[in-house]
Symmetry: C2
């Protein structure tokens, strides 16, 4: 049911990164559910995590470890989120890091753990640990595609993006993967995503860069408004490309990298929405003329979260009254509805807060047949714009979440 072309591009290896995948039988048999990233010595790692107060044990531990040592391994399991699991869950996360640490002769704090899957069940840590030797044996720079499959839960397809660019005679690479299809409304954080580059970037600058590109990508998508307990996004800079380390935003290489990263992150974020649980339509909600970024986002999310709008899009019904109702309840103070214009792609639905003179049901119905549609809303209040991506709400969303314990 995924919307659009989600096929993986050529996934360029990133010098300094090797990946191993194994079957650990965390939740299902015959499923590659364990992924280990090996990062070269000297790599800088930036990360952002979920703001959910019930954040999972591995999220808490990864945050602590990041403060203590440079990261050398990312240890990721699917099938179990190790969230809502109390002290026992934390012990399991610690043990899994210790085990990988003893097998690789790095400090336990150099291992960052990540889990995704069902919430509230104990992680079968012995099974996870018994899968580690196979994962380490599998380590290869060529394994990005297999890793994209290895971190999937209700995803129907692996998700990846990869780009190369040249500057001053050096060729640089950015490659990343993401997963997620439900419980998606990353809030100052993101779902699982792992992106690496061979550019050498100062650690603090890398963290700032990550926050910047996450803000316009993973922090602008929603499927069902439910922020996960396990969201995490990691950006690794291995420094193997051979450039002089980037320490300032005011360099050509920083700017070139930022542009490529922004595109890769946006692609990875949109892939999650395109593969949203039960999705049949990919919707871009574009709000312009707001008095602040906040109110643009408030309006965009009111629209993007409305079950009535999402079901209407599933039915290809240009029921624009529901869009007006969502704008009206978005909480923007002193909203003057007579200033509001709304378009579906290029079809003007609503002008000055009422039905557009030029609008006909046939025009709206024609746009609604498309799998990818932009809802554009002009507020007429100021100079701010923002965009959120979401998908429709179909029978299959209910089916997936009623049948599957994710």
């Amino acid at each position: 049911m995924a919307v659009g072309d989600l096929s993986l591009p050529v996934m360029h290896p990133v010098d300094g990164i090797r990946i191993g995948i194994a079957e650990a039988g965390i939740r299902y048999r015959n499923r590659r559910d364990l992924v280990v990233f090996e990062l070269c010595e000297g790599a800088n790692t930036a990360a952002v995590f979920t703001t959910n107060a019930f954040c999972a044990a591995p999220v808490q531990l990864a945050k602590t470890h990041l403060q203590q040592s440079p990261a050398r391994y990312l240890l990721i399991n699917t099938g179990n989120a190790n969230a809502g699991t109390g002290a026992k869950g934390m012990d399991a996360a610690i043990r899994s890091c210790q085990q990988l640490s003893s097998m690789t002769a790095v400090p336990a704090s150099a291992v960052l753990p990540f889990s995704t899957g069902v919430i509230g069940e104990q992680l079968p840590v012995d099974r996870l640990i018994s899968g580690l030797p196979n994962a380490l044996n599998d380590l290869s720079a060529e394994n990005w595609e297999a890793a994209a499959s290895g971190i999937m839960t209700t995803d129907t397809l692996p998700k990846g993006a990869s780009e190369q660019f040249e500057l001053d005679g050096i060729r640089y690479t950015v490659t990343g993967i993401s997963k997620g299809a439900g419980m998606i409304r990353p809030n100052m954080a993101t779902m699982l995503a792992y992106v690496a580059t061979d550019v050498a970037v100062d650690a603090a600058l890398l963290q700032a860069l990550l926050r910047d590109v996450v803000e316009s990508s993973f922090n602008r998508i929603t499927i069902d408004g439910d922020t996960s307990t396990n969201d995490a996004c990691v950006l690794v800079a291995t420094g193997r490309a051979g450039n002089a380390i980037v320490t300032s935003e005011k360099t050509a290489l920083y700017e070139a990298l930022r542009v490529v990263l922004a595109r890769v992150f946006q692609r990875l974020a949109q892939l999650i929405v395109r593969d949203g649980e039960g999705a049949t339509k990919f919707m871009t909600v574009q709000v312009e003329g707001g008095a602040s970024t906040q109110e643009c986002c408030d309006v965009a999310y009111a629209v993007a979260h409305s079950p009535l709008i999402k079901t209407a899009f599933f039915a290809s019904d240009p029921n624009w009254g529901r869009i007006l109702a969502a704008i009206g309840r978005s909480g923007v103070p002193d909203l003057d509805v007579s200033q509001i214009f709304v378009w579906l792609d290029d079809v003007l639905l609503c002008e000055n807060g009422g039905a557009a003179e030029s609008y006909t049901e046939a025009l709206g119905a024609a746009v609604m047949q498309k799998p990818e549609i932009t809802i554009r809303i002009a507020l007429g209040r100021g100079e701010f714009n923002d965009t959120v991506w979401t998908c429709d709400l179909s029978y299959d969303y209910v089916k997936i979440n009623a049948d599957y314990r994710s």
Copy 2:
């Protein structure tokens, strides 16, 4: 699909109120879609309305009229919301009030108009007006049940409540009706509801009393989180019971009336949730131990709006991890998850933020078989409690909103 017993009780007439119903063919043929309430001279009328900025033309006009004259008629149509209809919609609302005014020799401002149905289409005001003679011919004190049917849209059943009580030898009556099944998250307002009593109550006190009982009834329900453009709730006190007019909260009659009204309003609000679009389960979300009413409501609504929780309840799956995730993203500042306890009815799911020792899947599954379930959440932060009512999210919600243009 309605949950529980929604049958109408004996609908006691309220002295001073007559109701007429007619077929006006607003949207469908052979459907009684026009309801007129006649209020006796001297009746006091209180009302609250939607906070949606795109509030409908009749909502705007009813607010204005309430300031100008004592209300003598309520004019209600279903099939068309007259919202998002601009100046033409306002003209239609004004014309319908003028017509009823000329037929009944009251000022136009003594008529309060209400519309419900599809948003964004022009009200067929000529058809509405041509239905008025039949509605007036039909006026009767006995028509509460027919009125409850006459205001339905996607409702599957008419909704009403009626009680009588005695004080100091006088028998008093409270009778009311409500409608609504989708686009339900009344926000400082409510869906359509009309309640009358024969108690004589001072107008300002009546408005305060209405706000009080709405806060704990219509302002505590949600079906899909979508606040309507047309919500309105009206409370009429005809004063025909013969009591000395109530002018203070510190009287036995005020207190007796408040208790009965609170019960009637809560019943009318819960009936809307029980008949929620596609509902198969009625869920009470009870939050205790909060540091404020606001945070109790934030937690309760995060749970009540979560599509993941609602689909799990539809599937009778005690997937309590989704409840923790919703609590965690509710935005309560500095939430200490180790203080949190969660019950499904009397089954403890979660203690100190993790799985309860005593919990088994069989215990959770047994509760989940029931059609009515209480989710109780203890935050351990303070002395505030609050309760919100909602329903599950089923295939039929998608079907109703994908197939029907409401």
